[in-house]
């Protein structure tokens, strides 16, 4: 692999790691929001009864 190949590998590694972390953050955010909505609905139902 020549210099360009290693350069590409380095940048690919950088974007994969950063992108992976950002995707994980986004996934966690979606999961938390869904949990929050579900718990609010349940609390509302319990509050009504």
């Amino acid at each position: 692999m020549d210099g360009i190949g290693f350069l590409f590998a380095g940048f690919a590694a950088f974007w994969l790691l950063l992108g992976g972390y950002v995707v994980t953050l986004g996934w966690r955010q979606v999961g938390l929001k869904r949990q929050m909505e579900r718990l609010e609905r349940e609390l509302s139902r319990v509050g009504e009864s």
Partner: protein, 262 residues
């Protein structure tokens, strides 16, 4: 953060009962205006950091001149050095400062910021430890050597991974915060060791930022410093997002607790 104080037990303000069709958690208006303003700031920071990082990418790949001896592989340096800077500069220093702040003030918000910053620091240290060897292979002829700079950076990665593992193994609360704070303060000792390793021991690792003759062309230096600024902005944005997410996780936990009390 104001919402932490207004989410209360049943029978008081923010009772959890259904009031006028809306769920009365005492969260509705408390700090809403402040929260909206904070969201705008965070989103603006996000846009700025994305633009800055893309501009840094352009500078690194296109604008910066080709290095005479190393060729194009040298361009990795414009991402490798800023990643190392973010990890050892703002990220782990924030962990250190927040750990001290927690021990002094006993405020769990500092513990949460420390944890968020450590996570981002570990991510950037991982980037440093991967991009460095990729650069090293064609230049030094080997992916890894037990050079002082490389070794101390690897130790630093282990320290903060252990910090995160300690936190995940301990139930949330003041005990975890206390343990993490002590660990975070002691672990920071390695940061100046990494930085000074180039001066204290014989090393083949280049000393570009502080060396007297870094061999950097002025335009290369300009791209490098721009990338340092762009990555710092990115760190600030990721930290803001992560801390906000922690606030949301805390609210979910409290809602769950409220539901269990019914």
């Amino acid at each position: 953060m104001a919402n932490e104080q207004t989410l209360t037990r049943p029978g008081s303000a923010g009772s959890g009962r259904n009031v006028g069709g809306t769920l009365d958690l005492g969260l509705a208006d408390a700090g809403k205006a402040g929260g909206d303003r904070w969201s705008v700031v965070v989103n603006l920071l996000g846009v700025l950091s994305v633009v800055a990082v893309l501009a840094a990418l352009y500078g690194a790949l296109i604008w910066a001149p080709r290095e005479a001896q190393m060729g194009d592989i040298q361009r990795i340096f414009y991402f490798h050095v800023p990643s190392a800077w973010v990890a050892m500069g703002p990220a782990f220093t924030m962990v250190f400062a927040c750990c001290i702040a927690y021990l002094v003030k006993k405020d769990l918000r500092y513990d949460r910021i420390a944890a968020a910053s450590a996570e981002i620091g570990v991510m950037f240290t991982t980037i440093t430890l991967i991009t460095g060897p990729i650069w090293a292979r064609p230049i030094w002829g080997a992916y890894w050597t037990w050079d002082p700079r490389l070794t101390t950076t690897l130790v630093l990665w282990f320290i903060y991974v252990a910090y995160l593992m300690l936190r995940s193994a301990t139930p949330s609360g003041h005990r975890r915060a206390r343990l993490s704070a002590v660990f975070g303060i002691v672990g920071y000792v390695d940061v100046p060791i990494v930085f000074m390793s180039i001066r204290w021991w014989r090393t083949i690792h280049p000393d570009v930022l502080t060396g007297q003759d870094s061999g950097l062309d002025p335009s290369m230096r300009a791209v490098l410093f721009f990338a340092l600024g762009a990555f710092t902005l990115l760190y600030a944005y990721l930290l803001a997002v992560r801390v906000r997410q922690d606030g949301l996780a805390m609210r979910v936990e409290r809602l769950r607790h409220l539901l269990q009390q019914r």
